[in-house]
């Protein structure tokens, strides 16, 4: 049994590395495939499947910043890293940018451990009362983000259009609706704009790991707001890691490396705490926790203990895997044609969508790509596009 768990754990890390590096292939997709396999093949034990999903999901949160920073191909949780990441890329410091996000991811493991008892003993008590005000909290958070914009009218247009698109997508027979919706809004849109811009080749410096410093003062300046907002946001439906990172960095302004650290930490905390929330509330807050819920209807404390061990070990291993992959990327990125890579990624994303979604999904992909491009070209923040999830959730709670 232990040997089987170690094997699936390693396979999970391998899969998480693959999903993290391959733009468009989300962990939810692999988790969904695994859920269908578990129901068909009885030799796959539920605990092995859960170990695989947890190891894959945590590794994914560590690795998926690498294509975001080097190729500008983000997913919904990493698009915030593009701007500071690209600035450092242009300075030849993309490797340092990746390391700062990895520092954040690694520190997130500590936050997950600290908040686990709070999630287990306090969250179930306060959840019912918070649940009643979820739509109003979402409206408040959306208004706050909109009013902080410089171009309020344009941002409101983007927010309204994304909300309408999300509402229509979740009320029509779109196969795997999140795939075309999110890969269009956050992936393809950015890639098309990159394709249209001038090719920049910057030789990347691979600084020694010990020279990429992050002082204790910077650490606390980043980790405190992350610890305040992320555990709170991670059990509210419709809110993503980008909302938490935006709140944390706006209320406690940070420099570029602090921001990258924040984005990295938030992503991993959200993922880790979604498993704890599944145990304490029985609610699914991520695609991975939904897959675990499908495999094991209820988690025991023993299961949660194993999940926490998997989170910690896979996190530490992923940190070193991430650093080494980033080194390889830094060596080869200046030698390859950025436009060719971008075009290749666009083709891969389109093929993946053609395989996994239907004709209505392709219409969603085209629409969401256009809306994502409009948002970038209008100089409004892409967090407003998350209305595609927030508006349907608000409607669900109110009606």
């Amino acid at each position: 049994m232990i040997l089987e768990l170690i094997l699936v754990f390693l396979l999970g890390i391998l899969s998480g590395t693959f999903t993290g590096l391959a733009p468009g292939i989300h962990i939810n997709l692999i988790a969904a495939i695994l859920v269908s396999l578990v129901s068909k093949f009885s030799f796959i034990s539920p605990l092995s499947a859960v170990t695989f999903i947890v190891a894959m999901s945590i590794t994914h949160t560590f690795i998926d910043f690498i294509p975001s920073i080097y190729l500008g191909a983000p997913e919904e949780g990493t698009f915030l890293s593009i701007l500071p990441g690209h600035e450092l890329f242009l300075e030849g410091k993309a490797h340092s940018a990746v390391v700062y996000t990895l520092y954040g991811c690694l520190s997130a493991l500590l936050v997950i451990l600290i908040f686990t008892p709070i999630y287990i003993y306090i969250l179930p008590v306060i959840y019912e009362s918070i649940n009643n005000i979820v739509p109003f909290l979402l409206i408040f958070i959306s208004c706050y983000i909109l009013l902080r914009e410089e171009k309020i009218f344009l941002s409101f247009c983007v927010f309204a259009l994304a909300g309408a698109l999300g509402f229509l997508v979740f009320n029509n027979p779109v196969k795997d609706p999140l795939l075309p919706l999110l890969s269009g809004l956050f992936g393809l849109s950015n890639l098309f704009i990159s394709l249209n811009s001038n090719e920049i080749k910057v030789k990347q410096k691979i600084e020694n790991f010990k020279k990429i410093k992050f002082s204790l003062k910077e650490f606390f300046k980043s980790i405190i707001p992350v610890s305040i907002f992320t555990p709170l946001f991670s059990f509210l439906p419709g809110l993503s890691s980008s909302h938490s990172a935006t709140f944390a960095s706006e209320l406690f302004p940070q420099e570029r490396k602090g921001f990258l650290f924040t984005v990295g930490a938030v992503n991993t905390i959200m993922m880790g705490l979604s498993f704890v929330a599944l145990y304490s509330l029985g609610k699914t807050r991520s695609g991975s926790s939904a897959a675990i819920h499908d495999i094991m209807n209820t988690l025991t404390l023993h299961n949660l203990f194993i999940i926490l061990i998997v989170i910690i070990i896979s996190g530490i291993l992923s940190f070193y895997i991430g650093i080494n992959i980033s080194r390889v990327f830094a060596k080869i990125v200046s030698k390859i044609s950025y436009k060719k890579v971008t075009l290749l990624v666009i083709i891969i994303l389109f093929i993946i969508n053609c395989i996994f979604t239907n004709s209505l999904g392709i219409l969603v992909l085209i629409t969401s790509t256009a809306l994502g491009m409009f948002t970038i070209l209008s100089d409004t923040r892409r967090i407003n596009l998350m209305a595609c999830l927030i508006i349907p959730v608000i409607f669900y709670y109110l009606y």
Binding site: A164, N171, N172, P173, T367, S368, A370, F374
Partner: protein, 102 residues
Amino acid sequence: MRRLSFLIAIIGIFSLCFYTFFSVPLEISDQKQIKYLLDNQKVLIKGKVVRENVYEDRIILTLNNNLSLSCEFCIPPYKNNNITAIAIYDNFYKNFEIKELK
């Protein structure tokens, strides 16, 4: 490029709106067809009501072809009546939510 992307987004959203309201429902007649349905699929169901369960906020109609329909606005009784309904398939509960009933 900005205007073009805005235009495409608007056309796409209106196309989805159009699909929502004017798509032709898929006619289904037995349980076996359910596995081919997608969540939120609009369907046309005909049959005779053999069972009627009335709850506080909805009624559940079971037809002679074993299909179950859920309705919030329907006023019973429907038992032994032949009905034609346009409904939306809910993959989570594996049932149909009636939108129009004749």
